[in-house]
């Protein structure tokens, strides 16, 4: 096994196990920890793909901000809630898992069938994933989507404040 593949397998196993924790663990805080580890593993995968700006943004946005927000909410709710939220009936669970496995098998077979072993034959430029490239494109060709996204974020901020504000 080559070094690159070994690294990928390690990252993949970490991502898989942590995702399993997210789905399986009964304690939402443990789910959140699993998700943080998962995000970090995916950030490493981004670095392996050469997208350093996106990798560090992944750490900053997801692991640094969104998950802290999640933990905050989970801990606040835990302060008040007495009883644990129980999971669904076993039949429903089995059905969902079977459905998932079937879907996975279907799509994976398509991936493997359709030349799944494509290595990077086309070489991208040396500035792939560099902050300069992304900045340039974001503020020229993608400036309208960028503005729309920022308006969306503003609306999200206002909306969440409205939702969370106590009346009176």
């Amino acid at each position: 096994m080559t070094g690159g593949m070994l690294g990928f397998v390690i990252v993949g196993i970490i991502a898989f196990i942590s995702a399993f924790f997210v789905v399986k663990s009964e304690d939402p805080v443990r789910s959140a920890i699993g998700l943080v580890v998962n995000f970090l593993a995916i950030a490493v995968a981004y670095f392996m793909l050469g997208a350093e700006f996106l990798g560090i943004t992944q750490v900053m946005v997801y692991a640094g901000a969104i998950m802290v927000l999640f933990l905050f909410v989970v801990m606040i709710l835990k302060l008040g809630s007495r009883d644990k939220v129980v999971d669904r009936a076993p039949l429903q669970r089995t059905a969902a898992i079977m459905l998932g496995i079937a879907l996975l098998a279907m799509v994976m077979s398509a991936v493997i069938g359709a030349d799944g072993a494509v290595a990077s034959s086309v070489e991208v430029g040396p500035d792939f994933g560099k902050p300069q490239t992304i900045g340039k494109v974001l503020f020229t060709a993608y400036v309208w989507p960028f503005l729309l996204a920022s308006i969306l974020l503003l609306v999200g901020v206002v909306g969440s404040i409205l939702l969370a504000k106590r009346k009176g």
Partner: protein, 452 residues
Amino acid sequence: MEWITALGDLEGLKSGATVYGQGGPWILGLIKVVTFILPYLLIVPILVWWERRLLSWMQDRIGPNMTGTYTFKDGRKFKILWGIPQAFVDGIKIFLKEDITPKAVDKFVYFTAPAVALFPAFALAGVVPWGPKEGIYGLLTPIADVEIGLLYILAVSSLGAYGVVLSGYASNNKYSLMGGLRASAQLISYELAMGVSLACIVLATGSLRITEMVQKQEGDLWGVSQLGVIQNWNIFTPFGFIAAIVFLVALVAETNRAPFDLPEAENELIAGYHTEYSSMKFGVFFMGEYAAMFLLSGVFMCTFVGGYNFLPIDWAQLSQTASLGPAQPIFAFIDQAQYWLAPLGFIAKAFGGVTLFVWLRATLPRLRYDQLMNLGWKQLLPAAVANFIVVGIWLVATRLYGSAGGWIAAIVSYALTYLFFLKFVFKSKTGKPTFETRTVTMVNSPAKKEAS
């Protein structure tokens, strides 16, 4: 063993060309890490001692000055280094204390939390340069000169919240949980102001690399070549000054230091998130706090105050100024000395930052929680964002109309921003000023409640 002979070839080593693929990069990386981390680990106890001595001096006490005193037989006493051994003795004490694990804790999270708290303080060291890029120091520092250095610092320092939050949760103690909640809210709030204030510097520098930021600050003051003797430290520029103040306040909040130490407010929450931690588990939290304090002051020095240079004076240019005549060799010597003492300069400056933290702790009372949130969201963040916009206007105007046009645009836009702030931001709807006087008022006074 080819890499040993290759150590002589400086440029080749820096580019990684000479010893690539022969174990050289690994060993070089190890040397880089060790040369930073070992002194760093030694500095942490000294910081604790420094804080205790300084604090006691400010509070008119003496502080720990006796450890390491040797008494001769005839009664004469010999003190080793003003009591610095106290720091190391404290370390040994905390190591050997009884380690108690409460029964009700969430074991896995409880034991990982201190490690998670310590991790960012050391991971931050990866991109901070403690010496110039040229010559021998360029081989050793920074550990990774990545293109996204500043983003890396923001990302890793935002991971610092997890140690606090997880320890608060795992302790299964209401006070700890409150501490963790407060910490997470506080860190999220102040990270924004910190990021925006750093973005001003990124805009002015045009790069996210920390080494480039330091190098840019060695240029002529305000870009005027007649003032070239003085270096263009970011804190000397108007926008840099505002950004530096915002960044410094956010830094104090980010490291949970007084007056922003609400997560561990001892008279409200016992000790907050580390109430249930004893012995070295507490020691690790302690170490993480001081290490983060030191390194983040180092980041502050690198981004705003000229990095490893002692003084904002361009000695090399002075030594080449013909009118100075016989003083030229002296300046040349100082230039050389500044180069070779650069690591000491970095450490001294970071110590200066820590001294500022201690001074704040000795001076200011702790903020109330709503005051903390108001300061972060209503004052620091608008100030940082306005500053960011003005920097943008300034740079565009400079590019279009030259340096003078840039200054005029900057002054006009600063004045407009100030008026805007005066009219809208600093005044609440009720007409009361948002800058409250810092007096003690009962928020939910029991007497008032009974009356209503």
